[in-house]
């Protein structure tokens, strides 16, 4: 989710735009979870 409550109002929270070198490396080095992606993409979704 990217919504939060601040001062009793709903605010939209964007992902961080500036990442440290360590954070970038972690994002890039994370292995793709093929099992999860295969499960998700092998199903037929009825979008109308």
């Amino acid at each position: 989710m990217a919504l939060a409550i601040k001062d009793n109002n709903v605010v939209y929270v964007a992902p961080p735009k500036k990442l440290t070198a360590k954070e970038k490396k972690m994002l890039e080095d994370t292995p793709v979870n093929h099992k999860l992606i295969k499960r998700a993409t092998s199903r037929k979704y009825n979008v109308v």
Binding site: M1, A2, V10, P16, K17, T41, N46, V48
Partner: protein, 159 residues
């Protein structure tokens, strides 16, 4: 019949928030219920702008929940962002046969992965990201396969 009804700025009326709220049951906790109502009203307004797309998951006459998605970026990496995921209070925690025995939240995350994969093939998306509303949800989403970005509350799935 199971379906994901898609709402964009092209077909979302000004009544979308009212219609969604009238089709679901919110939390029994008063404070949490108000929070959910505020989020739902806000996200439905965002759908009327071209920035967010909402998919309402319905099974016959039941609204099981919904997911709202938008394109974003984490750092320089283009990403699909889960703006909001809501599960009808009536069905929370339940594994439903109609969803391949998944919980509604897991089914909706799977759908988001499918959407992200489609966009990735067309435009080079790298991550599916979300910001859980609380610590309990952090654990729930990590159990689904999301990875926590240390010192940030954001979670991601690499595509």
């Amino acid at each position: 019949m199971l379906e994901l009804k898609k709402y964009t700025s092209r077909n979302a009326s000004y009544r979308l928030g009212v219609d969604v709220l009238s089709s679901v049951e919110l939390s029994s906790d008063l404070e949490q219920s108000q929070r959910e109502e505020n989020f739902i009203e806000d996200i439905c307004k965002r759908v009327q702008k071209p920035s967010t797309v909402l998919y309402l998951l319905k099974s016959d006459n039941d609204t099981l929940g919904f997911i709202a998605l938008s394109v974003s970026s984490i750092g320089d990496f283009p990403s699909l962002q889960i703006d909001y995921l809501f599960v009808n209070h009536v069905f929370r925690g339940r594994h439903l046969e109609v969803l391949d025995n998944l919980k509604i939240s897991a089914y909706l995350v799977d759908f988001a992965i499918e959407v992200a994969q489609e966009i990735q093939e067309l435009a080079g998306l790298r991550y599916l990201v979300l910001l859980p509303d609380n610590d309990k949800l952090q654990n729930v989403y990590q159990n689904m396969g999301f990875v926590n970005l240390p010192k940030q509350d954001w979670l991601y799935i690499k595509l």
